[in-house]
């Protein structure tokens, strides 16, 4: 029996177990994680019949008083790599850490996940939603000598998954909230942080970028409004080659939010990033000030603002509006402008048995223009039986294609849900798009049905048949990335 099959059987058995926490005096051992086992019973193209997909995450830790040592293991046979659209096998100990936690001092050795200065001086993270590991391996300390002061320092190495280079990072931050020890509703704060990031593009040839980021920020939280302002500078300490100029850059980011007499809230964001990041600045990710989280060039030459409002004018009616605009700080060809707008509405517990809602989105960027509408409604047959339906219309123009095609996508979804027992999903997507970005012809419809049995709150078993285009799929009440699929599959997922 192969290792793979043993893992399948053992992990499947874990579905019936939960709360794997053992206490021995002062020691506590815990093990948790989640796993997904998928078996392709039939594949339309015949290539992958019998293929198994296993995706597991195991988190193990031992607590002893203020100390904790732990690890995270990721196993994927295979994993669909979203960014490059390929599959790869993975079995790796992705995190290993030792931490000490007390009232005044936190210390970590090993894997470090930390942001400083709103991500403008450091952004080491793990983003499970997009399957991106982007953390540091090193050591860090946070010290709180008094309640209103926190001093953090860290150093380590980190590799952005697809870059192949290992950056060396030293960073520190001082956060002061002078009234933090009081119960006053006015809470000013000051944030000073800096990082030094050495980026070995090609250490063999001594091609190295050496960057220094310094940020000063501050603001105040008041009962009905708040404001924050950050100013940051980037200095290139060492350029990649002797002849290359040592460029400098700067960043400005501010936010202002207010609540209008419990009727609505308004928000404003402004950004201006002038040569602040470049293509190797993976540990720096300034705030977006956009609606959809996209950014035209990730902080190199962009400025813009966002305005928004949220309101629940009457109980059960939730409204949201946002508009964002961005363009270049320095005008270069091709000129890039971003315009985005979103209107959301959600109704709950107003209309008997029906909760409707929907959104309208508009996005106009350099390479893409799209408008998307998605009305949805839930009909309650009883309090435990419901049907949710939605239909999405999207009209999109992809300008980066030579013939600049405009096409329409539609997605119809119907989901029956019996609380805590069974759900059934029918998803039908159709398009008049002829070819994908690579010029390859694509199918025009994807028809998929899936029935899910909820074994317990931590485990479920599903059988699905049809085709999935691949991408973000929301089913069973949570959203995740699905790889493209055609055929019949059985899937067992569990959290333990």
């Amino acid at each position: 029996m192969s290792d793979k099959m043993i893992i399948i059987i053992l992990i499947s058995l874990l579905c019936i177990s939960s709360n794997l926490i053992l206490a021995f005096g002062d020691y506590q051992f815990s093990m948790s994680g989640n796993n997904k086992f998928q078996y392709l019973l039939v594949d339309e193209e015949g290539e992958n019949k019998g293929k198994q997909y296993i995706s597991d995450r195991l988190e193990v830790s031992v607590l002893w008083g203020p100390f904790e040592v732990g690890t995270v293991v990721n196993i994927d046979y295979p994993r669909w790599v979203r960014f490059i659209g390929e599959e790869e096998d993975r079995a790796e100990m992705s995190q290993l850490y030792l931490t000490y936690t007390s009232e005044k001092l936190d210390a970590t050795g090993g894997t470090i996940i930390k942001s400083m200065g709103r991500g403008m001086t450091l952004h080491a993270t793990e983003d499970l939603s997009i399957d991106l590991e982007h953390y540091l391996k090193g050591a860090g300390v946070s010290f709180r000598p008094v309640e209103y002061l926190e001093i953090t320092g860290l150093g380590g190495k980190g590799e952005w998954r697809y870059s192949g280079q290992e950056d060396r990072v030293i960073a520190g931050e001082v956060e002061v909230s002078p009234l933090g020890m009081t119960s006053t509703s006015i809470q000013p704060f000051v944030d000073f942080s800096m990082s030094h990031i050495n980026i070995p593009i090609d250490p063999e040839s001594d091609i190295v970028y050496d960057q220094r980021y310094i940020l000063l920020g501050g603001g105040a939280y008041l009962p009905f409004c708040e404001g924050e302002f950050y100013y940051a500078r980037r200095d290139m300490v060492k350029s990649a080659s002797p002849g290359e100029p040592k460029t400098k850059g700067e960043a400005i980011y501010l936010t202002a939010n207010g609540t209008i007499s419990r009727f609505a809230s308004v928000e404003f964001e402004y950004k201006r990033y002038d040569n602040y990041c470049d293509f190797v600045s993976h540990f720096i990710t300034p705030p977006n000030a956009t609606i959809f989280g996209d950014s035209i060039n990730e902080g190199n030459n962009e400025q813009g603002f966002l305005i928004g409002a949220n309101s629940q004018p009457i109980d059960g009616l939730h409204l949201h509006f946002a508009y964002a605009f961005g363009n270049q700080v320095k005008k270069v060809e091709p000129q890039i402008k971003v315009k985005e707008m979103q209107i959301d509405a959600m109704v709950q517990d107003i209309i008997p048995r029906v909760d409707p809602g929907g959104y309208l989105e508009f996005q106009d960027e350099f390479e893409r223009k799209s408008i998307r509408v998605r009305p949805f409604a839930t009909f309650f047959m009883t309090e435990k039986h419901s049907i949710t339906g939605s239909i999405e219309f999207e009209k999109r123009t992809e300008k980066f294609w030579e013939n600049r095609p405009t096409f329409k996508d539609q997605i119809l979804e119907l989901e029956y849900y019996w609380t805590g027992n069974v759900s059934a999903l029918w998803r039908f997507e159709w398009t008049d798009q002829k070819r994908d970005q690579m010029g390859e012809s694509i199918r025009h419809n994807w028809n998929f049905i899936e029935v899910k049995y909820i074994i317990n709150p931590r485990s479920e078993f599903s059988v699905g048949y049809g085709q999935l285009r691949g991408g973000k799929v929301c089913s069973g009440g949570s959203c995740f990335w699905e790889s493209p699929f055609k055929g019949l599959r059985a899937k067992l997922t569990s959290v333990f």
Binding site: S32, G119, S265, P352, G477
Partner: protein
């Protein structure tokens, strides 16, 4: 070498497959007003309902009003509702306007560095945990579908030790 490690971990887990306790993690995070909140301070005398969410998660946004309804109904009987926003440092400015605009009064904490996310071993959003008065995890739920709030309410009512019904359709 790494191929054998997960196998060993799984075997180890099976060998000791006994659930003795599930103490809820103690974490200190800042709330949307920049004040520190320590979860163990809330566990001591209350039933605590925790929801992990983010401003980009649509099912989470459908669940939040239900959490507010539970707080409105059982807040004076010992229920505390805590929402933990997992928006990253670059997105977290959108959390407070969203919470205030929708008139949510539950405690909302920022978790941009995944401190609580990791401590609670959250697998996906939304992720709901109910902690009993002894500080132990009594219930977890992944995702949100319409009607899940009734299951959560029954857990809360049971832990609070009170009789309660919340039948929207028959009210």
């Amino acid at each position: 070498m790494f191929r054998s490690i997960p196998l060993l971990l799984v075997i180890l887990a099976l060998c000791i497959n006994v659930a003795l306790s599930a103490q809820a993690p103690d974490i200190t995070l800042k709330d949307i007003n920049n004040k520190s909140v320590t979860l163990s301070d809330l566990y001591s005398e209350n039933v605590v309902l925790i929801e992990f969410w983010s401003t980009t998660c649509e099912p989470c946004k459908k669940q939040l009003p239900k959490m507010q309804a539970l707080l409105d109904k059982y807040g004076d009987k010992g229920l505390v509702v805590v929402s933990i926003a997992t928006d990253s440092a670059r997105m977290m400015s959108k959390v407070k306007p969203y919470v205030n605009g929708n008139r949510y009064t539950f405690i909302t904490l920022h978790d941009p560095d995944q401190k609580a996310w990791k401590a609670f071993h959250a697998p996906a959003e939304p992720y709901t945990i109910v902690v009993d008065k002894g500080g132990e995890v009594a219930y977890v739920h992944i995702g949100y579908n319409p009607g899940d709030e009734y299951e959560m309410e029954s857990v809360v009512v049971n832990l609070l030790g009170i009789e309660g019904t919340w039948k929207k359709l028959t009210d």
